[in-house]
């Protein structure tokens, strides 16, 4: 099958590789770049496990062709890790609030949370619920996830 050169910026680094044109962005991130925080869940855009940030907006990478990544800035969960392996505030909040059980949905949820938090705005609980509604979690029942995002939002805004 035809391969195509795809140049992009992943987690702050300019990279390029030849990918099979049939590959999804999930395929490329996992297989070519070993970014295994990007999970394969439903692979039809329903669950959000494969969610990554492209040019500042969240996308389910399973329904995004790898060749479309040409020239884009892509951010996965791996980008959040500090230089000495420290967790970011939102990751720590997921731990503290017991918002992680099996963990399969977690990277996707956290990347949406990153997009939401980076707007620097304050959202009501209902608004947060809507903003996180593109993710399925079969373990936690969502409340702790909402708590983690809400608490991190308040902390960043100096309100907690």
């Amino acid at each position: 099958m035809e391969k195509k050169l795809v140049k992009c910026n992943i987690n702050g680094k300019d990279v390029e590789t030849y990918v099979d044109v049939r590959a999804s962005l999930t395929d490329m991130l996992r297989n070519d770049y070993r970014l295994t925080s990007v999970k394969k869940g439903c692979e039809v855009g329903e669950c959000g496990a494969c969610n990554v940030i492209i040019d500042g907006e969240c996308y389910n990478s399973c329904i995004y062709l790898a060749v479309w990544a040409e020239g884009k800035r892509i951010q996965t969960l791996e980008s959040l890790l500090g230089p000495n392996g420290e967790l970011s505030d939102i990751q720590q909040a997921f731990v503290d609030e017991a918002a992680v059980q099996c963990g399969f949905c977690t990277p996707g949820f956290i990347m949406t949370a990153v997009e939401v938090l980076e707007t620097g705005k304050e959202y009501t609980r209902d608004e947060l619920r809507k903003r996180l509604s593109g993710h399925l979690c079969r373990c936690t029942g969502y409340e702790n996830i909402l708590n983690a995002v809400e608490k991190t939002m308040k902390k960043r805004l100096g309100k907690a």
Binding site: G45, E57, L132, G134
Partner: protein, 293 residues
Amino acid sequence: MYDFSALYEATSVQNAVELMQAHPSAVLIAGGSDVLIKMREGKLAGAELISIYKLDELREVTMDPDGTLRIGPMTSFSHATKSQLVQQHIPVLGESADTAGGPQLRNIGTLGGNICNGVTSADTASTQVAYDAMLEITGPAGMRKISIHDFYKGVGKVDLQPGELLTAILIPKESYKNCYGYYLKYAMRNAMDIATIGCSVNVVLSADKKTIERMRISYGVAGPVPMRARSAEAAVNGQPVSEATIELIGNAVLNDVNPRTSWRASAEFRKQIISETARRGLRAAVERAGGVF
């Protein structure tokens, strides 16, 4: 890995037309949120794809000198919602886009794909129909303009001839001027669900805000394609802003619609939702226009 046999990436609208002529059986892909799902289900196995994803010139929302709102068909749901021009002139379009799927889906799904798929449940389609959108279609013979009402041909069928693609959605000034709209999506879940019924209503009131001068109402899932309820419109036009008019529309819409029973809902239930959304939608649109009941 997707099961397609070739991918041609268009570099311009003209190039897309040429690619479609050179590969007549290929499938056009915009944001891919319908095409790639079908492909995963095995329905398009082995097809060739022509991608217009990189045609950023089709992603803009602009205003023509004559006041026509020009919406690029590649405008994503979320960018439609965020567009200043949409918020100013036809906010209901952005609001209807904001009910589709979930946040990530709204960044990839496009307004053009939402009508070119010919799907009745498409969340922005009923609003595009309710505002008498004009469609600019570009093909081998150049450009033509048609009304969205002539575009829908049947379930999943639209008036796109070989080599043609949608290049603009136009909302004429007479359509949005002094006009206030409201969209209601009835679904089983608050997110990530397909509409059981979608209803888009808009009104122009008289200067004293006591009479409904023009009302347009359109439905998704009330028939095989998004449709207007014309007899209900005729019945409501010229009526006073009153509770009686709200009652009137709830009954009148039933003469226009033809919902069916599916695993999602029975025809009877859909009819009940159709009446109720007409009443609530009309009330909300009139209130937005400054009318008082």
